[in-house]
Amino acid sequence: MAFWIHTVSPDDADGALKRLYGQALRRAGRVYNIVRAMSPNPEALRASIALYRALMKGPSPLSRAQRELIAVVVSRVNACEY
């Protein structure tokens, strides 16, 4: 199975994308495919990760499990398997 557009592999990344992949590796131990999908536009990738982290890892009256459950319910309704 492959992406439908050209994406940049971790081995081929340079500049800002290489730094973003390095941060992803340190945080998660891998470059998830959803991260690689956004490699054509590193600035959009950077902003998307920043929003994700603010929402999912930042302070909130919602517990992390409540936030993850929202993610699961939304993805289920959207029938998004990823």
């Binding site: 998830y32 959803i34 919602l62 409540q66 993805s75």
Partner: protein, 130 residues
Amino acid sequence: MQAHAGDLRAEIANDWESLFGRRIPRTPDARAPHEADAAALDARVHELVRDWRAGPLTEPTGALLAYVEKLTRSAASCTAADVQMLREAGWSDRAVHDAVQVAAYFNYINRVADALGVPPEPDLPTWGAP
């Protein structure tokens, strides 16, 4: 969904009471007071992934999930009365805001994943199976 079901599994033991409103169940042979039965936690995540309404979630958490489900199916049908119901369920405006932002983020990222053919992570467990 699968990637975040795994994240839910990682968080559920720490945040059990925020979802279910009571102490986490333990097996009799648990070695520590906080030690949960991993198989029971797995089963609960499978159940939530299949149908969150089937699980014994707290009423406030269920109200919040019903609202994010509504905004995902039909955002234009959301009303001030819906938000008032969340307040009456005990949620602060900050909590409502955060839930809406999380739901909106996943509506966005689901579309990125589906429209660019993002492959699944083959080595991650599959959640929601019977």
